[in-house]
Every structure is written in C-alpha cells, then in structure tokens.
C-alpha cells in the first residue's frame, strides 16, 4: 500500500509514419485494389486464398498464380458493431465480416455497411464499395454493401 502523494500523469503519444515495402504478391493485391480488381492466389491444394500470400500456409512453398475473384461475394461470418470506435473504417453502426469473394475459397476481414443489424445474415451476398480516391492500400476498398 502506498500513500497517494498526488502521483503525476501526462499524455504520451506515439506515432509512426510507416512505409512498408510490399513485395510482388502483396504489391499485386494492392495494385488490384487501386484498379478495382480483387485478387486471390492459388494455394498448393488448389484453393484460392484472399488476401494472397507469398507462401502456402500448409506447406510453406512459394505461390505464384494470382487469380481474379469477385466482384461480389458472400458473408461467411459477421459481428455487429453498435458503437464504432474512433479508428474503425465506418463511423455508423456496421458489421465486421469475413467476406468471401466469388471464386475465392476463404473470406477476409472487411467492414459491411448494411444499415442495420436486421440486414445482416450469414450467407448474404455483398458487393464492394470502392473509395473515390485510390492509392494502392486496403482503404481503396471502402467497405461492402448488400448486393
């Protein structure tokens, strides 16, 4: 136990500009987003994985065959955010979802602007809403909306 001597506190802000090299696979995926194209990559077992990885997650070997997928897709699972946090991609109630574009075999984490909890359902179809200004980042895909 300690007497409270009026312990001092102060704001501490850490900030990193970060510019990350992408390499050819992630670079291709982000290029695709800039061009409004969704890309997956073919894994060793034939499944199409999105976002594409440079390696096969089961065997570790290099993967090279990028495959165009989407544009529409299916919600594999979702969660409804009633109170968005300041850095969330949407500032109105929205769903996080694992969205599986047509032609892909896995879903990836994306926001869905469904408007209401009642509009969300596992298995629903969604389509991408692209950002007006795209620069080759995940933000180029602003969110998804019910098809």
């Amino acid at each position: 136990m300690t007497d409270d001597i009026g312990v001092l506190s102060a704001p501490l802000i850490i900030e990193y500009p970060f510019s990350r090299t992408t390499g050819p696979v992630i670079g291709a995926f982000l290029t695709g987003l800039r061009e409004q194209i969704l890309l997956g990559i073919r894994a060793r077992d034939g499944r199409v994985v999105i976002p594409p990885t440079e390696y096969d997650s089961a065997t570790g070997e290099d993967l090279t065959e990028l495959v165009e997928v989407g544009p529409g897709g299916v919600v594999d699972t979702w969660a409804w955010v009633r109170h968005p946090m300041p850095k969330h991609p949407l500032q109105v109630p929205f769903a996080w979802a694992l969205v599986r574009p047509d032609g892909a075999d896995v879903g990836f984490l994306q926001p869905v602007d469904a408007g209401s909890l009642e509009a969300m359902a596992t298995g629903m179809r969604v389509k991408p809403r692209w950002g007006d200004e795209r620069e080759g980042s995940i933000h180029d895909l602003a969110c998804w909306e019910p098809e």
């Binding site: 300690t2 001597i5 009026g6 312990v7 001092l8 506190s9 102060a10 704001p11 501490l12 802000i13 850490i14 900030e15 990193y16 500009p17 970060f18 510019s19 990350r20 090299t21 992408t22 390499g23 050819p24 696979v25 670079g27 291709a28 982000l30 290029t31 695709g32 800039r34 061009e35 194209i37 890309l39 290099d62 090279t64 065959e65 990028l66 495959v67 165009e68 080759g136 980042s137």
Partner: protein
C-alpha cells in the same frame, strides 16, 4: 524469388511497391510514486535522489534499487554540483532536435550520488568539454519551475579544479 503470374486485367499497369500504414496511439503515462517525488522536487528547485537501506543513491529513481531489488525508501537532497563522467558532442541534425548544433550532452555525477544524471552542457565550447570537469546546475527563473527536468536549463563548468573519475568497470566487484 519466382515470377508471379498476374492476371491480364493488370497488364501494363504500374505496380504498387510500397504502402503507407501510419499508426498513432494516445496513452496516459503515470509516473509512479518515486518519479513523482523526483519531479515534484524539481518543481521546488531540488534534485532528489533515492536510496534503499544499505543501498546506493540513484537519481532519478524509479522506485527500485537495481542491485538489491527492493524499494528505495529514503530521499536524498543532492547538491547541484557534480563531476562530468562522460559526454557526447552532437553534430548531426535529427528530427525533433531543439538545440543548435554542435551541442554537448553529458552524464553528470552529482556529489553524493552513485548514478549520473543526463543533461545538457552549455557555456563551454564543445572542444573544451572533458571528463573530470566540475559542473553546476543552471535553473530556470523561480516562477518557471515545474515538475520537469527542464526546470534545470543546463549544467555549466563552475571553475573548480578537475577531479579524477573512476573508469568504467574500475572497482566493480561481485
């Protein structure tokens, strides 16, 4: 690296090679009890070291004696003079620097302390700064004192003759 096969739709398009992913987070830092004592001491124009029973004097203290692994319980009001035990002349500009280059940072072993304190060395040409030099604290005006090491503007030579400084590792036993 093996060649990646791009779909036809990306033919001829300039490829992304890097992406910006900035991150900023805001915390509330709590000084803890010992650091609070030190900072409040500065606001009163004092430099307070701390020691545990049987332990050395540390300044600034974080509340633990690192040799004994016990809390420091006693405050020691240290004099504002000491000996320069090491220093560095900064010649290279860096983001956020406030000082005009070149300038000197020093480790000052205040009389009675076992741990040197880092601060600026001013009022001394950089080529004249040397280990063993006696220095004194120069404070801000009384009305500007606050719970910050910036209450001390810098240390400057005080004219006393040099004293010998123990070399790193000298006399260390375990």
């Amino acid at each position: 690296m093996p060649d990646i096969t791009l779909p036809a739709s990306l033919d001829g398009v300039e490829l992304v090679r890097s992406v910006r992913t900035p991150a900023r987070m805001e915390y509330t830092y709590t000084a803890g009890v010992a650091t609070t004592r030190f900072l409040k001491g500065l606001a009163q124009g004092k430099i307070l070291g701390e020691r545990a029973q049987g332990g050395k004097v540390y300044v600034p203290s974080r509340g633990a004696d690192p040799q004994l692994g016990v809390p420091t319980t006693e405050q020691v009001d240290l004099p504002h003079v000491g000996t320069l035990v090491s220093f560095c002349v900064v010649n290279v500009a860096f983001y956020g620097q406030g000082m005009e280059i070149p300038y000197t940072s020093g480790l000052i072993l205040l009389d009675g302390s076992d741990l040197p304190l880092m601060h600026l060395i001013q009022e001394c040409p950089v080529e004249d700064v040397h280990i063993g030099m006696r220095v004194e604290a120069v404070w801000v005006d009384a009305s500007d004192l606050g719970p910050t090491l910036e209450s001390i503007r810098y240390f400057r030579p005080n004219g006393e003759p040099d004293v010998p400084v123990r070399q790193p590792g000298e006399g260390v036993t375990w």
